[in-house]
Symmetry: C2
């Protein structure tokens, strides 16, 4: 069994604790949480520590804390030459303190506390400073996920930017659609099957092939009618810019 220590008590740490609990290849021997109560429902409280000097010997230390805290947490690990990874999509591998061997263990998903996830479907992106450490990271990742990728730091950065577009920004467009419905007394429920189908469609088609709508058709009459209906200036600005981008096929404006 690979011995793992998890440092953190946020969403990612919670979901990792649950995922590892179910498997026979990885043994989470400790969880570090500044506030023990935040993980006691998930993990044996005798193995929860809140003092770095209590950290036990392990094959792998996974730092799952907020981006800003990664560097300082990695400095406080009282060992040398251990394998220490973080779970962030944006923070550079080199932000980890150099006294230990560095790596990345980045599960690419949007985690919500109290919402169960099927970790086997979540891609995990791995990177390691030393080739020899990759094997161990791969073993740990494969024990919980069916899709594991070797991704370098530049690729990971690009992935994270893409994720902002397809997750954060997409969700914001859902919010705008929601607001337009509320303003016009229409149940947002009506749009939910469309939202699911829009996502499902690109599982087999490229987004370019899947594109439909007035912008794609250059249907100026409909575009003008839509802009007339949007009383909110912010919504109109977004409508115009995305319409123009579709019309230019994503090329430079």
């Amino acid at each position: 069994m690979v011995k793992v220590v998890l440092i953190g008590s946020g969403n990612v740490a919670h979901h990792l604790i649950e995922a590892f609990a179910k498997n026979q290849k990885v043994d989470v021997i400790q969880v570090f949480a500044r506030q023990k109560e935040s993980v006691t429902t998930l993990f044996d409280s005798n193995k929860i520590i809140s003092n770095y000097t209590d950290l036990a010997d392990a094959d792998l230390y996974i730092i799952a804390v907020s981006d800003d805290a990664i560097a300082s947490v990695s400095e406080q690990i009282p060992f040398e030459n251990r394998l220490v990874v973080h779970t962030s999509g944006t923070v550079a591998m080199n932000s980890l303190d150099s006294k230990n061997r560095k790596g990345i263990f980045y599960p690419l998903q949007t985690f919500t506390k109290n919402k169960a996830v099927d970790f086997s479907q979540i891609p995990i992106c791995l990177e390691s400073e030393n080739e020899s450490d990759f094997e161990l990271l791969n073993k740990v990742a494969q024990s919980i996920s069916n899709t594991v990728f070797k991704i370098n730091s530049l690729q990971r950065k690009a992935l994270h930017v893409s994720a902002v577009f397809v997750n954060n920004f997409v969700n914001h467009l859902y919010q705008i659609g929601h607001e337009i419905c509320i303003e016009n007394n229409v149940p947002f429920e009506i749009l939910k099957p469309l939202i699911l189908e829009t996502a499902n469609k690109i599982m087999n088609l490229s987004p370019k092939e899947a594109q439909t709508g007035p912008a794609k058709r250059n249907d100026t009459k409909t575009i003008e009618a839509h802009l007339d209906l949007l009383s909110n200036e912010n919504q109109a600005t977004i409508y115009k810019i995305l319409t123009q981008s579709i019309q230019n096929n994503g090329k430079k404006l």
Copy 2:
């Protein structure tokens, strides 16, 4: 059985023919198609007509043609005082010729030819000029869908604008994500589970509750790093505007 004539041979017509074929409450007695070949695989070719003078007596005529053609098609129906509806999300009910009783039968979904849809999950939005016609429309809609809504023309227009945001624009953001992946040698596959989860998440949470990411967190460092990576000016413009909109919580800029 309600006797229905379907006018049109595009995506919506195709999917309606297939949906009605399976049910016992509606009898599609004719399909009007300018080019018979376009529907012969789906429908008894003896009942396909391409001349308006061949139109038979029916309880309901459904015009499923492109927005621009709806008015002229409705003029060419050689009857009076029949129930005639169209399937468009944008065209006004009053675009239909006044010699017949008007209505709307708008299935809100993105249809792709040759991609099967489960019509029972597709919301159908109905409107009728006369209250007495609503019952028949409702019966026809309920025969193929589990979610039928009474929606007036203004609400339908708002729905369509919302649909542009949550479908057309969302798909365009998928395309941008796809392009960023290609430019940086990252498999777009990695993002697919995230895309599905983003859509699934708002089935139970409001989009506002589901919002995450650097814009929401006001994480200026990450936002700047992302803008650095975007070499395409169009992508950068969209990134900035959507980030600002999230930060302003969708309020006027």
